[in-house]
Amino acid sequence: MTRVVRAAPPVARTVTRRRVRHPLRQVLTYLVLFTIFLFAAFPLIWTFVISVTDSNAVTTGRTVYDFPASLFPQRVTLANFVNVVQTYPAVGRAFLNSLLISGLSVVLTVIVSALAAYPLARHDFRGKAVVFAVILGTMVLPTETSFLVNMLTLAKLKAWPVIGPLIGIGSYLGVVLPTVSTAFGIFLMRQAFLAIPQSLLEAARIDGAGEALIFRRVMLPLAIPSIAALSIFTLVNTWNSYFWPSIALTGAQNKLPLAVEMLKLKGAFNDNIFNTAAGAVIMMVPILALFLFAQRFFMRGLEGATK
C-alpha cells in the first residue's frame, strides 16, 4: 500500500509521457513486427508466388530470379500444379503415403500414450514410481546411434514369419512403430487424466464398471482436448519428418512420403523451378491449414512438453 502511495507521482509522469510517445512507438513496434514477419514468411510467400506464376509469361525468359519483378507475376495460373500431378504421378502416391504414415502414427501414438498414462495417473501399484521415472528418463538418453540400431532391428524383424513384411524394414508400420511410444505423449496424457475429478471414477466403479470400460467411457472422452493436442503435434511431426522415413523405407520406393520425395522432385525438376514450387505448395498447404485451424491445441501440446 505504502509503495503505491509513494510511487504516485512517477505514475502520473509515465502516463502523460506514454500518451505523447504512443503513436510513434506503435508505428515502430509494427515496423519491427513486420520486418520479422518478412524474415519468417518470405520463403513461403515466395514459393507460393512461383508456384502460381505462368512460366510462359515471366519477364526474362523462363527464370524467376529476376527479382523483385518476379514477385509480381504477369499471369497467374494453376497449370504448374496440373503439370506436377500429370507428369510425376509419384507425387500423388507420395501424398497418400504421407497421409497413411501420419495417420497411423497419430492413431497409434494416442492409443499407446493414453493406455500407458491411465494407470500412471489413476492407479496405485507396485513399481509405479520406477516405471514413471524410466519413461521420463528416456527423454535424456543419448540417442545418437538409435537410427542405426533401429534400422538393424527392422531388418531382423523383416525375416520373421508372417508379420515380418508388415512390421519390418520397408513397411509402413516399420517407419511408424519406433516413433509411437514417447515420454512426451505419455506425460501429456497423464496430465490430462490427473485433471479428471476422482468422484467420476468412483461413481463408475460403484456402478460396477471395469477398468477397460472406465478408460474408454470416462477417461478418454474427458481428455479430448489433450488428445487433439497430441494428435496435431504428432501429425505435424510425422508429416514433416525426413531422415527416419528415408532410412526405414530403404528398398520401398513406392512407400516414401512427400517429405522424402520432395527432394527427389527438386532434382528431377531442376530445369523447371515452377513445378518444384507447385510440389512444395502441395506439401505445405495441408499442414499450414491444419496449423491455422488448430493453432491453440498445437501450442498447448508444445507447452505441455515443457511442464
Binding site: 509503495r3 503505491v4 510511487a7 505514475v11 506503435q26 513496434t29 519491427v32 513486427l33 519468417a40 520463403p43 513461403l44 515466395w46 514459393t47 530470379y65 527479382f67 492409443i111 493406455l115 500407458a116 494407470p119 492407479h123 496405485d124 501399484f125 507396485r126 509405479k128 516405471v131 524410466v134 519413461i135 538418453l141 543419448p142 540417442t143 545418437e144 546411434t145 538409435s146 542405426l148 540400431v149 533401429n150 534400422m151 538393424l152 532391428t153 519406433p178 511410444s181 477398468e211 514433416n240 525426413y242 532410412i247 530403404t250 517429405a259 522424402v260 520432395m262 527432394l263 527438386k266 523451378i273 512444395a280 505445405m284 499442414i287 496449423f291 501450442m299 508444445l302 507447452e303 515443457t306
Partner: protein, 302 residues
C-alpha cells in the same frame, strides 16, 4: 493381497504396449549402440549373422586418426554459435509479442510457421534464396553490402555454405523457442512488473532485474534444448548439400559422419559409426553439465 496383485496386473497390462515399444526402440538401441562402439561390426557381419567382435578401443583409435572425423566434430562445435543468437532473438521476440496489440496474434502465428516447415521444404525454398541470382544477393547488393558485380552461390562456396545452413536452422528455430519463452513469460506475476514500474524502473531495468531472473528456468531449458540439437545437427547438412558434407567438407558434422559410416556411404561400418555416435553423446553430456553449472552460478549472482 490377491486383489492388489490383480490390480497391479491390470495396470501393467495398460502399460504393456508403451513399455514394450520403449524398450525395443528406445532403450535397447542406446545400450546396443554403446556396445557396438567397442566392436567390429559391418554390413557383411550383419548379413552373415556373425556376431560383433569385441575390439576394445580400436574404433576410437581409428577415429582419432581420421582427419574427416576431426573436421566434423569441429564443425559440430562451431554449430553451437547458433545457440546464443537463437536464444537472444527468440526471447526478445517473445517479449515483443507478449502484449496486447491489435493483430498481435497474427504475428505470433506467422513466426511459428517456419517451425512446421519440413527440412525438405526449407531446402527447396532456401535454395532459391541462396542461388547466385537469388534474393539474398539482390538484397545485399541493394543495401550496398555486396559488390554489384559479384555472384555468390551461398551453398556452393566453402566460406559461406556453413553459415547459410546455420541461418536456416535459426529460421526454423526461433518461433519454437519464442513459444516456450511466451509460456514462461505468462508465469511471471503481472504485479511484479507492475510494482517495478510503479517504483520508477525503466522497461530496460524491469527486463533485466525482474523478467530475466524469473525466466531463468525457461532460459536454461531452451538453451539446453538448443545446445543439444545444435551438436546433433544432421538433417540440415544432409539435405542442403545432398549428403556430400558441402564444399571442402565445410558442412560435414559429427552426426553426418555417423550416418555416412553406417548407411549413407559405402563403408557400412556399424562399429565405427557407433563409436563416433558415442563421442557425440559424450560431448552432448559435457555440454549439458556445463549448461547447468553456468546457470546455477548465474542464479547465485542474481
Amino acid at each position: 493381497m490377491l486383489k492388489t496383485l490383480r490390480g497391479a496386473l491390470s495396470s501393467y497390462l495398460f502399460l504393456l504396449p508403451a513399455l514394450l515399444l520403449l524398450v525395443v526402440f528406445t532403450l535397447y538401441p542406446v545400450l546396443y549402440g554403446a556396445y557396438l562402439g567397442f566392436t567390429e561390426y559391418t554390413a557383411a557381419n550383419f548379413a552373415t549373422r556373425s556376431p560383433p567382435t569385441w575390439v576394445g578401443l580400436d574404433n576410437f583409435r581409428t577415429l582419432a586418426g581420421d582427419e574427416l572425423f576431426r573436421i566434423s566434430v569441429l564443425n559440430s562445435l562451431k554449430y553451437l554459435l547458433v545457440v546464443p543468437a537463437l536464444q537472444i532473438a527468440s526471447l526478445a521476440v517473445a517479449v515483443l509479442v507478449n502484449r496486447q496489440l491489435p493483430g498481435i496474434a497474427f504475428f505470433r502465428a506467422a513466426y511459428y510457421v517456419p517451425v512446421i516447415t519440413s527440412i525438405s521444404l526449407a531446402a527447396v525454398m532456401w535454395d532459391w534464396i541462396y542461388n547466385k541470382d537469388g534474393v539474398l544477393n539482390w538484397l545485399l547488393k541493394g543495401l550496398r553490402l555486396m559488390n554489384p558485380d559479384s555472384n555468390l552461390s551461398w551453398l556452393l562456396d566453402p566460406n559461406t555454405a556453413f553459415w547459410a545452413i546455420m541461418l536456416v536452422t535459426f529460421w526454423r528455430g526461433f518461433g519454437y523457442y519464442m513459444v516456450l519463452y511466451m509460456a514462461g513469460l505468462q508465469n511471471i506475476p503481472e504485479e511484479l512488473e507492475e510494482a517495478a514500474r510503479l517504483d520508477g524502473a525503466s522497461p530496460w531495468q524491469t527486463f533485466w532485474r525482474i523478467t530475466v531472473p524469473l525466466m531463468q528456468p525457461t532460459i536454461l531449458l531452451c538453451t539446453l534444448l538448443s545446445v543439444l540439437s545444435a551438436i546433433r545437427v544432421l538433417e540440415e547438412v544432409l539435405v542442403f548439400t545432398n549428403g556430400t558434407g558441402g564444399p571442402l567438407n565445410s558442412t560435414y558434422t559429427a552426426l553426418l559422419y555417423v550416418y555416412k559410416k553406417s548407411f549413407g556411404g559405402l563403408d557400412f561400418n556399424y562399429g565405427l559409426a557407433s563409436a563416433a555416435g558415442l563421442v557425440v553423446a559424450a560431448i552432448a553430456l559435457v555440454l549439458s553439465v556445463i549448461n547447468f553449472r553456468l546457470f546455477r552460478e548465474g542464479s547465485v549472482r542474481a
